[in-house]
């Protein structure tokens, strides 16, 4: 008998949660994060995905309905127009600084200077509005001419104080914010509508709440990779102070966003903590304690973190045993999956490990062989979710289908 969408939804999400709770589901669940794959799949440019909301919406609907994952991640609803209006310098998107047929890319820089930690720590909101935003968004440059924000304390002189918003350059900023805000609202609403429609069709989303490791926030958005790495040596205390402050904000903001979304799951992509980036000693000092606190904070608030361990974490696996048991899922990219299962099998659900390179340029035989190995070795006894090591933007559709079908067939657990 054919299952109703509601039944399919329950079956799919049940599989994922069985795996997270380290139980054995009916078969290995499959989790797909498509990135901008859907654009190429239906024959639209990636640039269009940033401008044509409806077309992008339908492309993803078709993709998910055809590949039928147990849980999907994304798709991003990022508006090119919003970035245009704001004059965003921190992102290059298709047709705007990068090729129109590929995904967006970040432009890292030292957007916060080495000697600005105190300004940031003393008055973060003021720093972000008057110093940081003017640097990362061309349109917002005039905000640097606002008076210090604490000045708005003097409410007995509103006329004099608020006249600044009548200045031509500040007025222009406010108008841009209004325009950008209205456009952004449409795209955010589309993301929510998408997830709702997919749920009605039987497909669960991981959700759209995102958190970052506090060190990554500093490294990726504020100081840049080089700046943050120099800070480890030149001003470790300031760096740690900032990390500590950001950790609590991150917990509070993430819990609030997730509660509002009514989806109790949080994505945490990790960037700079891997074996390749820093020594175990630095990991122990600058990366792990705040990340652990963040994860525990989210778990304590009833949320399930979906953590992407980018790069290699093979030497870090012992640290991960400190995480709450059966409450998180860890996706790995280049980590030794067998070792991960060995060390973490009783602690957390393991996902990922399928090389995107294979799904892009491999042969069907290679893919089946690799997937079989993962299912046999890492899938044994449950607690495993099949997933690629990173986003599937450039995957070959035929190969993707072979991998998904094989997993659904071969991945059945014997009862």
């Amino acid at each position: 008998m054919k299952k109703s969408p509601e039944e399919s939804y329950q079956e799919r999400i049940g599989r994922i949660y069985d795996a997270i709770q380290l139980k054995v589901p009916d078969r290995v669940p499959i989790y797909l994060g498509f990135g901008y794959f859907a654009a190429k799949y239906v024959g639209m440019s990636v640039e269009e995905a940033f401008y044509d909301l409806n077309k992008w919406f339908l492309a993803n609907k078709k993709t998910i309905m055809e590949f039928k994952p147990d849980m999907y991640e994304g798709p991003d609803f990022k508006s090119g127009l919003v970035m245009e209006i704001l004059g965003s310098k921190i992102v290059r998107w298709p047709g705007h600084g990068v090729s129109s047929s590929h995904t967006f890319q970040f432009v890292e820089g030292e957007y916060m200077k080495a000697d600005e930690y105190d300004a940031f720590l003393d008055d973060p909101s003021d720093y972000i509005i008057r110093t940081y935003l003017p640097r990362v968004c061309k349109t917002l440059e005039p905000l640097k001419n606002l008076p210090p924000l604490w000045l708005f304390l003097y409410q007995d002189t509103p006329t004099a104080l608020f006249a600044v918003f009548g200045n031509a350059e500040i007025s222009a900023v406010l108008e841009s914010l209004l325009k950008a805000g209205r456009e952004a609202k449409k795209w955010v609403a589309a993301g929510e509508a998408f997830d709702k429609e997919m749920a009605e069709l039987g497909f669960p989303t991981v959700g759209r709440t995102l958190a970052m490791a506090p060190f990554d926030v500093i490294s990726a958005f504020f100081r840049g990779i080089r700046g943050s790495m120099l800070d480890i040596y030149r001003q470790p205390d300031k760096l740690l102070e900032a990390i500590e402050k950001i950790t609590q904000w991150m917990i509070d903001a993430t819990v609030a966003t997730a509660k509002k979304s009514k989806i109790p799951r949080v994505l945490i992509p990790l960037h700079r903590g891997s074996d390749e980036f820093m020594s175990p000693k630095h990991f122990e000092t600058f990366y792990w304690p705040s990340l652990k606190k963040l994860i525990s904070g989210l778990v304590n608030a009833g949320l399930t973190p979906f953590i992407w361990f980018e790069g290699t974490y093979t030497t870090r696996l012992e640290y991960l045993t400190e995480l709450p048991k059966g409450k998180v899922i860890g996706f790995f990219e280049k980590t030794d999956m067998i070792k991960a299962k060995e060390i973490l099998g009783d602690i957390m659900c393991i996902g990922g490990g399928m090389p995107v390179s294979l799904l892009q340029v491999g042969t069907p035989q290679q893919i089946r062989k690799y997937a079989k190995k993962l299912i046999d070795k890492v899938g044994e006894g449950g607690g495993f979710v099949m997933s690629a090591g990173s986003a599937l933007d450039e995957a070959n559709p035929q190969l993707l289908k072979i991998w998904v079908d094989f997993t659904k067939q071969y991945g059945k657990y014997k009862r």
């Binding site: 790495m229 390179s357 340029v361 090591g389 450039e394």
Partner: protein, 216 residues
């Protein structure tokens, strides 16, 4: 008073241990005392070789490379005005760049840094480098090795196109091509048609040593 030799060992050690303040203080002291600027620069290079070794052995990571690069840059700034013409012996030439459509430079820069401190002359073409730019550079610079870098999966196609363009220009037999990037593996190597891939910057150095010489 310490002997000159002890002092030299001390400077090499200070740089290799990333003791920035103390290293710079000693460099200034030496320059003020009229010591040979070229010698100071050579000591700094010796220190970087140690840094490279420690990176290879898994004692040092990216923060240490960035820091060592910074200290070296500062020392060079102090020393260079006192050097008329630096004659540096190089092992060979490498052309390197991040391939078309990818704008990430960290991996490339680390490989470049490691190659330089190991004695190679590196020509950096930057990021988002189209195949024809690589071909042009190979014609002009005549390197023994070409390094293609890319972080994103979209880089694989560009790497393949670059190798094809080099082939088409009749230059394929003149150069060894190595590729690298977080997602590069043996499958990608085969697809791209390069000669080898490196998992990290040290593997890139080993490849160049093997191909150009200067290795074991």
């Amino acid at each position: 008073m310490k002997s000159k030799k002890q002092n030299a060992a001390n400077l090499v050690e200070l740089i290799a241990d990333l003791n920035e303040e103390e290293a710079l203080r000693i460099v200034k002291q030496k320059l003020d005392a009229g010591e040979d600027a070229i010698e100071i620069l050579e000591m700094s290079r010796d220190a970087l070789t140690i840094v490279g070794e420690r990176f290879k052995n898994g004692e040092y990571f990216i923060p240490e490379l960035v820091m060592a690069g910074e200290i070296f840059r500062k020392i060079s700034e102090l020393v260079k005005p006192k050097i008329k013409k630096a004659e540096i012996k190089r092992l060979g030439k490498v052309v390197i760049g991040t391939v078309q459509h990818d704008i990430h430079d960290l991996g490339k820069d680390i490989v470049k840094f490691m190659l330089e401190i190991n004695g190679f002359e590196v020509h950096d073409l930057g990021v988002d480098v189209p195949p024809e730019k690589f071909v042009e550079a190979i014609k002009k610079i005549k390197p023994q090795v070409v390094g293609l870098s890319g972080l994103l999966t979209l880089a694989f196609e560009s790497m393949k196109k670059t190798v094809e363009a080099i082939e088409k220009a009749g230059l394929r037999s003149k150069v060894k091509i190595m590729i690298g990037g977080a997602q590069v593996d043996e499958y990608i190597l085969k697809y791209v048609g390069a000669d080898a891939y490196g998992k990290n910057a040290m593997e890139a150095v080993e490849l160049c040593k093997k191909w150009i010489g200067g290795g074991k």
